[in-house]
Amino acid sequence: MKRFGWLILFCVVPVLLLFVTGQGICDVSPGDVLDKTNWEIAKGLLPDEIIGWIKKGDFVLQVGELSYKLADYLPAYVCKARSANVGKYMLDEDGWIVEKATGKRGQHIIGHPFPNVDPEDPKVGEKIVYNFFYTGHSSGNFVTQLHTDYIRKSGYARSTLGEMHNMTMVGNPTSVAQDNPDDVEKYTLFVARSPYDIAGAAVMTWRYLDPQKPDNTFTFLPAIRRVRRMSSGNRSDAMFGSDGSVDDSGCFDGKVTSMEWKFLRRQEALLPFVSAVPTRLVKGEEGAWNSPEDIEVMIYGYEKKGWQGAQWAPVNWLWVKKPVVVLQVKAKDPYYNYGIQHIWVQTETWAAVYKQIFDKAGAYWKTVFAQPRYFESADKAFHLVHAGDQLIIDERMKHATLTRGPMPAEIWEYLAEMDANDFSLAGFQKFCK
């Protein structure tokens, strides 16, 4: 009888405990702090390299929960389109989004074109990527001040400052109402402001709606005082000495048809957020929605006195468990500098959050974090989701590039009024010296 009691104690009780907790020892809860003493409980919820960083003591994660539902924090017209767009669109053999009923090309799409995705769909990867592109388009034209810090293992190295103007021609009512004779998906213009030796350098890109048509990229270099064409194929080359390439922006900013996409899995993951509450939007003087001057600032290891972890580690991000899908990406261009990539996409608002980059031999190389920001107006009537900080860590070089989201001194404008003439060859001149 006594022996039977010990059997129950050492065999049955643990099993019962496992059953009661439901998820075994790999689970996190709001309020947990993940560090090198308890990294195991996050296994599977994060890319392996992040687990490794926690284990080493480079990263410490504060787990929390949000006071709001992510899916409610898209603009109303996107929420409305969630039901309107179900089953409306498909991808044709050239990768165009077309209306299922008519076969007509979808050039005035509002919201996510593929609100429901089927993992068994052979084109599910492409559809998910279009969804996260249209998440970006839903916030309309934007003007951002891009403050980028270059961080070494020993700490802060240097910074660059630039300004980006993005004019989107799809994804929201204002954009689709504009004339679009060149069938452009978006115009992007980046102007470097500092340091002095790159100040005045500008890059303009025209992204066409045609999935097979490559971007047109123009660069103004102060050293030659001219606008010149740039290759649109060179998208895996690091930019301005950073750890990120053109395609790494927002985890992926290339043409969908330039990659082969494969759906790997659905899962839950710990994702980075700014805080438990959304960020307030303020109305700007020119009618745009602006980030506030008292916006929360994200802090990193090199900025925190006494920090013992990695200099680029985020110190005050909030990590929340959310459902994601993981896609495998492989470039069709044999000269692309990356091998396989894994992109983790959060499914409530279709925001890409992580990209793991492996080299052409299959060894791990870099990780991209794209932390989103969720905004709402003071009267809570208007919402949008947009980019927050983007961090790229090059594990081999022990170097990181941090592109800041909106900051107190770097106000971002959303749904900004823009003139398409600014993105013409003539208009580009006004941004150049």
Partner: protein
Amino acid sequence: MDRRKWAITILCCGLFLLGITLTADAFYVDPKKKTLEVIGKVQSRVSFRLQDSDGFTQPIDIHVGDLVQWRNLALIEITHDLKRLSRDLDILYPLKKFKIKAKYHLVGRFMYEGVYNVGPQPFKDVCDQDKENIDKFKQAYDLWEAYMDLSRGPLFVRIGRQSLAWGETDVFRLLDGINPLDNTFGGVFEDLDDRRIPLWMLRGSYNFGRVGPVSALTVEGFWVPGNWDSRVAPVSPAGTPYAAPQPESPIPTVVLTPSKVMSNSRWGVRVMGLLADNYNLSIGHYRSYLDIPALRLGVGDTPMDAWTEISYPDVQVTGGSLSFWEQRTDVIVRTELAWFWDEPVFIPEINTPLVPLPIPIPGIPGLPANGEIPKKDMLKWVIGLDKNIWIRPLNHKRTFMVSLQYFGTWVQDYDERMRVPLALYPDATQFTSAKEVEGMFTFLVNTDYYGGDIIPQMVVAYDARGVFMFQPSVNFILEPFRIMVQYSGIVGNMAGFGAYRDRDQITFIFSYLFN
């Protein structure tokens, strides 16, 4: 207050504003609105000659290891976007009323060349012998750029002192001949944009958008009123480190620059657009002045009253450019084709005629007579190819940017007597020949390491007549400093840039960026 004092005042104010920030960010007077930006740098450029002077290069006593350049530069730039101010200031009300976007841009430039104070004795002697001229030459305080941008919808206008570059070339110019170049402080060894002299100009463009198969169809024009600005490329005073190698002349040299009159205006117009969403095409015509002046002999009442006259006849250029991305090879192709109308040429028998003496005297080939400046039409072209190449064993993180160019010139109605007005040592009456068809190749490659902190580059130019120029350099970033080491060398004969074949040098450039 005179111009020099204004310039010093602006410099001090700018340095004060910049000095109060300790970060390497752009300095904004209004950091939240970011409409008024101040940036700047100071730079010191030190060059040591790596060859003894030879031939007609003066001063002849410059040797290997001698300092030939200590050029100090300070630049302050102010950019002010008036969009917010136009809402608040009544005087700017028209901008708001007519929805005109406006901004202005100012650059103060302060330059001092120290080689005439601390360099080798021959340069100090040059300064002593021509003090007034060298004192003006070795320092400059300028409102270097000062323009206002106004734009409304498809119309863009820039008024003020500015630079405008047309065409598709690097390293050397073809259609890019609107602004003159200052070659007095380094010639071909210097970056093109560092040599460009801004002009007081009115420039505008109008975007027509898509017209048939052409998108972004634009008409652009410029006008440099001659009574505002008729500046041309300056001539290096004799004996300065980068002066052309010329024999000492027994007769004076007179430099005639275009006078400031309306008839000496520069102007031009071009049409450009994107054809079939890939081909950047432009066609244009402009009037300007070439950097290389024309030479002729002038004679007064008697042959003893003679002078060498350097002048700058105007030239009109008609041409076009085409550039596109070739997707399969991932190459950017750049081309230019231009017709130079009535470009001055040098034919000794016409430009610098000598009348034979009635009785020959050894050492005196003849008596000078009034020369003329013959002109020829010229067809010039360039084909350029740019490609980013991965050479992973050398750099697994960044591509190598490789650029090749071929420049060609074909003289119309060629005259075999044509020469380049540079005497072939030791005979002051013999000149380098000019061929009917000339060609030149350039090659440039660069990449970067350590997150952009180290930027090596190599530039090679080859004149098909038998001259090579090599210019390897490495740029180091140690925020907020920049340190560049550059070697410049020319080997070959006297054709083209071969005139500077005895000026090989090593240069150290130290820059401090205020932001």
